[in-house]
């Protein structure tokens, strides 16, 4: 069947077998799309563009007048905003730790739970479960677990010499505990993504490797790993964006506004907004967006290159 519209005047049956929406049909289809397009443009696309506009003003959000400050906000962000710098460093540390830990851990879980046995299906359901909880709920669970006075983890940590800390308030290391909580909540979700990817790998490849006498590790290294890398890249990209946005978890664990050791960019921007610095917060948003885009692009380039090398 061809996709080219039949010439006018051809036998009716032949024409209709190749119909594509045209004329009134096309218009009707655009009418189906129109409500969503209008709604999306008005409530999301335009505000997103306005953010760029706000970012070159000093508007406070309520007064009638404001000044155009050009790149002033950006200059402040770059040079003399210690709160922003603190949040940036925390965000990068947090994202790096989560990205590495979660990409690896969820792959390990997926490999261990690949077979569809009853036990594996049950464990998958359990590991996935935290992903449906609100981050505020997850935060309260861990606020207690990590409570230095009464938390159940304290004796364990003390036994291995890590005790006595103010885990979620310690400068420099608080984000590592935050990363632990984030991974706890989401590794099971990404495990499922990996399982879907692993189940696409043809069984014959493993059988062939076994015939060649490959060990379990060799089969993993030379069959599973190269073929799961594209999925790994998706997991990595998703994890990165998800950790950059871990707003609720930070507010739940670090308070509102969060204590500085837990402050990340997403919460810092909200802080600026809550302080009525609309223009400044908008500039921070633009930097935030650019940063995510840059990191995602870098990941694609770096990991993407490994991918093509492995394949060749």
């Amino acid at each position: 069947m061809t996709t080219v519209a039949a010439p006018v005047g051809a036998a009716p049956r032949a024409t209709s077998a190749t119909v594509r929406p045209r004329g009134r049909g096309r218009l009707a289809l655009w009418l189906f799309a129109a409500p969503a397009l209008v709604f999306y443009t008005y409530f999301l696309a335009v505000p997103t563009l306005q953010t760029a506009l706000y970012s070159i003003t000093d508007w406070d959000g309520y007064s009638g007048d404001f000044a155009w400050v050009g790149g002033g906000n950006y200059a402040d962000i770059a040079t003399n905003d210690s709160q922003f710098r603190n949040a940036l460093v925390n965000s990068l540390q947090f994202t790096l730790v989560v990205a590495v830990a979660q990409t690896v851990l969820s792959l390990a879980l997926a490999v261990l739970l690949l077979r569809n046995t009853r036990g594996a299906v049950l464990l998958r359901a359990l590991f996935f479960f935290p992903a449906i909880l609100s981050s505020v709920a997850v935060a309260f669970v861990w606020k207690f677990v990590l409570d230095p006075q009464v938390g159940p983890l304290e004796p364990v940590l003390a036994a291995v010499g890590l005790g006595g800390g103010q885990y979620l308030a310690a400068p420099g290391t608080a984000v590592l505990w935050l990363a632990l909580v984030q991974v706890w909540a989401h590794a099971g979700q990404l495990m499922v993504v990996y399982i879907a990817g692993l189940q696409q790998i043809p069984k014959v490849l493993y059988e062939a490797a076994e015939v060649d006498g490959a060990t379990r590790w060799e089969r993993f290294r030379h069959v599973t790993l190269p073929l799961i890398l594209p999925t790994g890249l998706i997991v990595l990209a998703y994890t990165t964006v998800q950790s950059f946005k871990a707003f609720d978890l930070v507010l739940g664990l670090g308070g509102n506004p969060p204590n500085p050791p837990l402050d990340i960019l997403a919460t810092r921007i909200y802080g600026g907004f809550a302080d009525s610095q609309f223009g400044y917060a908008a500039a921070e948003s633009v930097v935030f967006l650019a940063l995510i885009a840059l990191i995602t692009w870098l990941q694609r380039r770096l990991v993407g290159r490994d991918l093509t090398e492995d394949a060749s």
Binding site: I132, V192, I234
Partner: protein, 267 residues
């Protein structure tokens, strides 16, 4: 063997904190602190009585149900119709319109929230459940369109052609053929929106100041100020706020996994 040990340990890491919380809701503070990991020896209903009696959580539960149900209806109505159009329309313009909507998936909330607040303030949609419905719907729209269009594009074109042949209007084709066939992707999109909307904290924080309009995550966050470190009360709030989705998860697990996975694999 190592496989079993590894899985067993991880199962404990996931399950123990959850059980501590659930058991904690029927313990007194002293009991919880004395034996955080222990089974409740003399269960008490006092925490539930306090939290429910306080009333906030009941209001929040009602608000969350209203908002989430409306978000599902609005988003799915807009997304299914748009997906139907995008799955059928060809040409540069249609591709551009689809790309424009789907690009919304890549934009973090932080990129739009400040002007959105100004817009909603202007429209009188702050401190209003309708405002929450509108903003959560528009944030969920791109991913719903993505999931549904992807699915509708896999429907055999003969189906549409047969409908056209029979003289069915686009609306008729949409209602009687495409929509019923799309149930799997509708379910996936619905679950994704359900989880996102039910758990959203940022927009309620941004738009709601009136305690009577709070949804569950916002009320829960407020508990830290109210109950400080009275963990049994915090845990009770956690359990009450999470119970509806947790119960749904038990029965609709397959769809939860499908929905949240569709949401994360957007490539």
């Amino acid at each position: 063997m190592t496989r079993r040990v590894a899985l067993g340990v991880y199962a404990l890491i996931i399950a123990v904190p959850l059980l501590v919380v659930v058991f904690g809701t029927v313990k007194t503070t002293q009991q919880l602190f004395a034996a955080p990991l222990g089974l409740p020896t003399s269960p008490t209903g006092a925490n539930y009585a306090t939290v429910v009696g306080n009333g906030e959580i009941v209001v929040a539960l009602r608000n969350s149900v209203v908002v989430t149900v409306c978000v599902l209806l609005v988003t799915l109505a807009l997304a299914t119709t748009a997906a139907f159009a995008f799955a059928r329309l060809r040409g540069v313009l249609a591709a551009a319109a689809y790309g424009f909507v789907v690009a919304g998936m890549a934009i973090p909330v932080q990129a739009s929230m400040v002007p959105q607040f100004v817009l909603f303030d202007l429209l009188g949609l702050t401190d209003s459940l309708l405002g929450l419905v509108v903003v959560q719907s528009v944030m969920g729209l791109p991913i719903a369109v993505f999931i549904l269009t992807g699915f509708m594009r896999t429907l055999p074109r003969e189906l549409f052609e047969a409908a056209d042949l029979d003289g069915a209007s686009p609306w008729r084709t949409f209602r009687s053929i495409v929509l019923p066939l799309s149930t799997p992707s509708l379910a996936a999109a619905a679950i994704f929106l359900l989880v996102i909307s039910w758990n959203d904290l940022l927009y309620p924080l941004l738009l709601i100041t009136d305690p009577a309009k709070r949804t569950l995550p916002l009320t829960l966050l407020g508990f830290t100020g109210e109950y400080l470190t009275d963990y049994p009360l915090l845990f009770t709030g956690v359990v009450l706020a999470s119970a509806p989705l947790a119960l749904a998860y038990v029965f609709l697990q397959r769809w939860f996994v499908a929905g949240l996975t569709a949401g994360s694999v957007k490539g």
